[in-house]
C-alpha cells in the first residue's frame, strides 16, 4: 500500500498542479460527506417493524405490501420531526410465511435483535406478533383479523385491555349484522347452513355465544351446522348432504379460498344450489374469485374497503379512489381490500409516533395510541371509544361479486352499518 502511494507521488508532476488541486478538493468534499454520514448514523433512528404473511396461504392479505411500504418509505425519506427533534425512520419488513410460529420468531427477532420502537403487523393467522410485543413492552398496532380473534387468544378482557398492544378492525357482531342485512334483501326460507374452519378466526366467528350465530338467531334465521372442517379439507360431502336434507338456502361460514373452491365445486357436483352464498374471507380477493370462474357471480361477502369509500389518507391526502388508481397504475394489478387497511395501519403508526412526543419511549408511544383519533383512508379510527379497550373499530359493509365479461368486480349492496358509504347496486339471488 505504502509502496503504491510512493509511486503515485512520483508520478504527480506529470499530471500537473491543477489536477492535483482538483483532486485534493474532491477528497476534502468526500471527507466532509463521510463525517456528516457518521453524524447521521449517530442521530436517532426510529425503527418500525412490520410482519405480514408475504408468502404462504395467507399471502393475498399482503399482496399490496410492497406498494404501500414503498409509498410510506418515500414519504418518510426525510425522516420525522417530533417535538423539535429530527429522526430518521427505518421500516424493517419481515415475512411470517403464513406460519404463527414463524410470526412469533420474527417478532422476537425484531424486538430483541433490531430493538424496534413500534411494531405493525397483520394478524390474520393469529395474534402472535402483538403477543410478543405485549410481553416485551413494545408498542404494537395490528389489523386484519376480527378484534375478538386478537383479544381473546391473547388472554385479554374487553374492559381491561393491554399495556402495549392495540388493534383496529371490525368485530364479529359488525360483520354478522352486515350478513343479515345482505340476506334480508331477498326472500328466502331463512335457513342458514354454517361451515366454520377449525382455526383461530373460524372458532371466533363461529362461537355459539360470542360469535356470529347468536346475531343470526336474533335476526330470525334458523341455523344448521354439521361441524367444523380442518384447514386444507378436500371433501365437504358430510356438510353438503346435511344442507340438502335440511333445505338450506343460505350458506355462510369462514373459508380460505382453496377450501371455498372445493366446497363450491362439490356443491355443484352434488346438486346443492343455495340462493345465497356469503362466506367470510374466501371472497376478499379478486384472484380467489377469478379461480371460481362464472360460478362466483352474485356470491356475496363483507367489504372492509373499496374505492367507493368517501375517505382520504392522512399521509398522502389521496382519496380511496385515487389510492386505487395509483396502485393499479404502478403495479398493473387489480385493487384488493387490504390496500386501504394496510395503508391505514401505517397512517396510524406514523400518527402514534408523532403524538408520542418521544418516539423512543415505548410508554409514551403506547399512551399516544390509547386515545388516538385519526381520519384515515378507511374512515375514522378511534382507539379511545372502541368496542373494547385498546381496540378501534372500522367500517364494514356488504357487497356482491359480479362477473361481467369474465372480469370479477365487487359492488356495495348494503350499508346499514355505515350509511356514509353509498350503495352501488341492489342485492340479487344466486
Amino acid at each position: 500500500m505504502k509502496h503504491h502511494n510512493k509511486e503515485k507521488l512520483q508520478n504527480l508532476p506529470k499530471v500537473g498542479r491543477r489536477y492535483f488541486l482538483k483532486s485534493a478538493a474532491a477528497l476534502a468534499v468526500a471527507a466532509s460527506m463521510l463525517s456528516s454520514l457518521e453524524a447521521m448514523a449517530s442521530s436517532d433512528v426510529i425503527k418500525i417493524g412490520y410482519v405480514s404473511p408475504q408468502s404462504g396461504p395467507f399471502s393475498p392479505f399482503a399482496e399490496a405490501d410492497d406498494y404501500i411500504i414503498d409509498q410510506v418509505r418515500g414519504l418518510l425519506a426525510d425522516g420525522l420531526t417530533i417535538s423539535g427533534k429530527h429522526y430518521d425512520v427505518e421500516i424493517l419488513v419481515r415475512d411470517d410465511q403464513s406460519s404463527p410460529d414463524r410470526a412469533s420468531n420474527q417478532a422476537a427477532d425484531l424486538i430483541n435483535g433490531e430493538e424496534v420502537d413500534l411494531m405493525l403487523s397483520q394478524v390474520a393467522i393469529g395474534p402472535n406478533v402483538p403477543q410478543q410485543c405485549e410481553l416485551n413492552g413494545v408498542p404494537s398496532i395490528s389489523t386484519m383479523g376480527p378484534w375478538e380473534a386478537w383479544m381473546f387468544p391473547m388472554g385479554g378482557k374487553p374492559d381491561v385491555g393491554f399495556q402495549s398492544a392495540f388493534h383496529f378492525f371490525w368485530g364479529v357482531a359488525d360483520i354478522a349484522e352486515v350478513y343479515t342485512g345482505l340476506w334480508n334483501a331477498i326472500p328466502t326460507n331463512k335457513k342458514v347452513g354454517m361451515v366454520w374452519s377449525n382455526d383461530v378466526p373460524g372458532m371466533a366467528l363461529g362461537n355459539a355465544e360470542h360469535g356470529m350465530p347468536p346475531v343470526f338467531k336474533a335476526a330470525g334465521f334458523e341455523l344448521h351446522e354439521v361441524g367444523n372442517f380442518p384447514v386444507g379439507a378436500d371433501d365437504f360431502t358430510a356438510h353438503i348432504q346435511a344442507f340438502k336434507e335440511d333445505g338450506v338456502e343460505v350458506v355462510t361460514g369462514l373459508f380460505n379460498p382453496p377450501e371455498w373452491a372445493t366446497f363450491v365445486a362439490q356443491s355443484a357436483q352434488m346438486g346443492f344450489k343455495p340462493k345465497v352464498m356469503t362466506p367470510a374471507k374466501a371472497l376478499l380477493f379478486p384472484s380467489g374469485v377469478a379461480a371460481l370462474g362464472q360460478s362466483a357471480d352474485r356470491m356475496s361477502t363483507e367489504i372492509w374497503w373499496s374505492p367507493a369509500y368517501p375517505f382520504n389518507s392522512s399521509l398522502t391526502g389521496q382519496s380511496a379512489a385515487e389510492l386505487v388508481a395509483d396502485y393499479q397504475a404502478k403495479t398493473g394489478r387489480t385493487w384488493t381490500q387490504p390496500i386501504g387497511v394496510v395503508h391505514a395501519l401505517f397512517e396510524a403508526g406514523v400518527q402514534a409516533l408523532k403524538l408520542s412526543g418521544n418516539p423512543k419511549d415505548p410508554e409514551a408511544v403506547a399512551n399516544a395510541i390509547r386515545n388516538m383519533q385519526l381520519d384515515t383512508v378507511i374512515g375514522k379510527l378511534d382507539f379511545g371509544h372502541g368496542p373494547a379497550k385498546n381496540v378501534s373499530s372500522m367500517r364494514v359493509v356488504g357487497g356482491q361479486w359480479r362477473i361481467e365479461d369474465g372480469k370479477p368486480e365487487i359492488f356495495i349492496t348494503d350499508n346499514k352499518t355505515a350509511p356514509e358509504i353509498a350503495i352501488e347496486r341492489p342485492f340479487e339471488a344466486l
Partner: protein, 308 residues
C-alpha cells in the same frame, strides 16, 4: 358440539328412511371415488416396494412436484391440465430414469436403511427447491367447468371430475398390472422381484431394469399429480400427507400387491368420509384409525403380498 355429534351418529346408524339410505350410498360412492385417487397415489410406492424392495420417502413430494410441473406447463402453453400430461409424463419418465441411474442404484439392494435415508433427504431437498422456486403459495390446476359438473344417479348427484379420476385410476391399475403379468419386461421384473441373484445369472440387467421401472413409477405419479392438483389446491409442504395416504393404501393392501393397494386406497377413502359424518373435523383421523385397526388385526395386510 355434543348435540350435532349425537344427531349425526343417529343419522348414520338409522339408514331406514329412504333419504338416509341415499345419503349412505352417496357417502359410500364419494368415498370410493376419493379412495381411487388415494390408490393411484399408492401405486408408485407399491411398485418400488414390490420390485426394488425400496421405500421411497420422497414419494409424496414427487406427487407435488408433478403437480407443480403440470401447472408450469398449463401456464406457459395453451394446454389444459389433462392435456398437460402429454408433456408431463415423458418428463416424469426422464426424471425417474435419471434418479435411478444417478442416485438410487447406488443404494438399492444393499440394506433397507440406505434407500430410506437417501429418499428422506431427497424429500427435504424437493420441498425446499419447490418453496424456493414457487414460494409457499398454494396453487391449483384449473379444471374449469369440469370441476362443477355432476351427474344425476337415482336421486343422488355424483361429481364428474371424481368419476373421471376414478376411471383413470382403474385404467392405470389395469394397464400396469397387465404390463407386469403379461409382458416380457414384466417377466424380467417379476424375476428380479423374486430372486435378484438368479435373475442376474440368467442375463437380466437389473440396474437397467430398475431405471426403466422408476421411470414408469414416476409416470404413474405424474398422472396422480394432475388428478390431485385438479381436485385439491397444493403447496410445497403438501407432500408428506400424500405419502401417508399412499403408504396406508400400500400397507393395508399387502406389501407389493397391486390390486391390494387399490382396495387399500378405497378403504382409506371410504373411512375418511364416514368418519367425517361422525365428526366433520376428524375425517382424516378416521382413515388413520381404520388403518391402525386393520394393521393390528392383519399385520401382513389384507391381501397376499410379495409378487407384484
Amino acid at each position: 358440539m355434543a348435540r350435532p355429534l349425537m344427531l349425526t351418529i343417529m343419522r348414520l346408524l338409522t339408514p331406514t328412511l329412504e333419504f338416509d339410505m341415499l345419503v349412505f350410498i352417496e357417502t359410500l360412492i364419494n368415498g370410493l371415488l376419493l379412495g381411487a385417487l388415494y390408490a393411484l397415489f399408492g401405486m408408485g410406492l407399491s411398485l418400488s416396494l414390490g420390485v426394488m424392495r425400496m421405500i421411497n420417502i420422497a414419494h409424496g413430494d414427487f406427487i407435488v412436484l408433478g403437480a407443480y410441473l403440470s401447472s408450469v406447463i398449463v401456464m406457459s402453453t395453451d394446454l389444459g391440465p389433462l392435456a398437460s400430461l402429454l408433456l408431463l409424463l415423458p418428463l416424469m419418465f426422464v426424471i425417474g430414469w435419471l434418479l435411478q441411474v444417478v442416485l438410487f442404484n447406488r443404494v438399492v439392494g444393499r440394506d433397507p436403511l440406505s434407500p430410506l435415508l437417501l429418499t428422506f433427504g431427497l424429500s427435504i431437498v424437493i420441498q425446499n427447491l419447490l418453496q424456493e422456486g414457487f414460494s409457499a403459495d398454494t396453487r391449483s390446476l384449473p379444471a374449469g367447468d369440469l370441476a362443477l359438473q355432476g351427474v344425476e344417479l337415482g336421486g343422488m348427484s355424483i361429481g364428474v371430475l371424481p368419476l373421471i379420476s376414478a376411471a383413470i385410476s382403474i385404467a392405470v391399475f389395469w394397464f400396469i398390472n397387465r404390463l407386469i403379468h403379461r409382458s416380457p419386461v414384466g417377466a424380467a421384473v417379476r424375476a428380479v422381484a423374486d430372486d435378484q441373484e438368479t435373475a442376474r445369472l440368467v442375463g437380466v440387467n437389473d440396474k437397467r431394469l430398475f431405471a426403466y421401472m422408476t421411470g414408469l413409477i414416476l409416470v404413474t405419479v405424474g398422472i396422480a399429480s394432475v388428478l390431485y392438483g385438479m381436485r385439491t389446491p397444493f403447496s410445497p409442504a403438501s407432500g408428506p400427507e400424500r405419502l401417508i395416504f399412499s403408504f396406508e393404501a400400500v400397507v393395508l393392501g399387502g406389501l407389493g400387491n397391486l390390486w391390494g393397494t387399490f382396495i387399500g386406497g378405497l378403504i382409506i377413502g371410504v373411512s375418511q368420509l364416514f368418519g367425517a359424518r361422525i365428526d366433520t373435523g376428524l375425517g382424516p383421523f378416521f382413515g388413520h384409525l381404520v388403518f391402525l385397526l386393520a394393521l393390528i388385526a392383519r399385520p401382513q395386510g389384507l391381501f397376499k403380498g410379495g409378487k407384484s
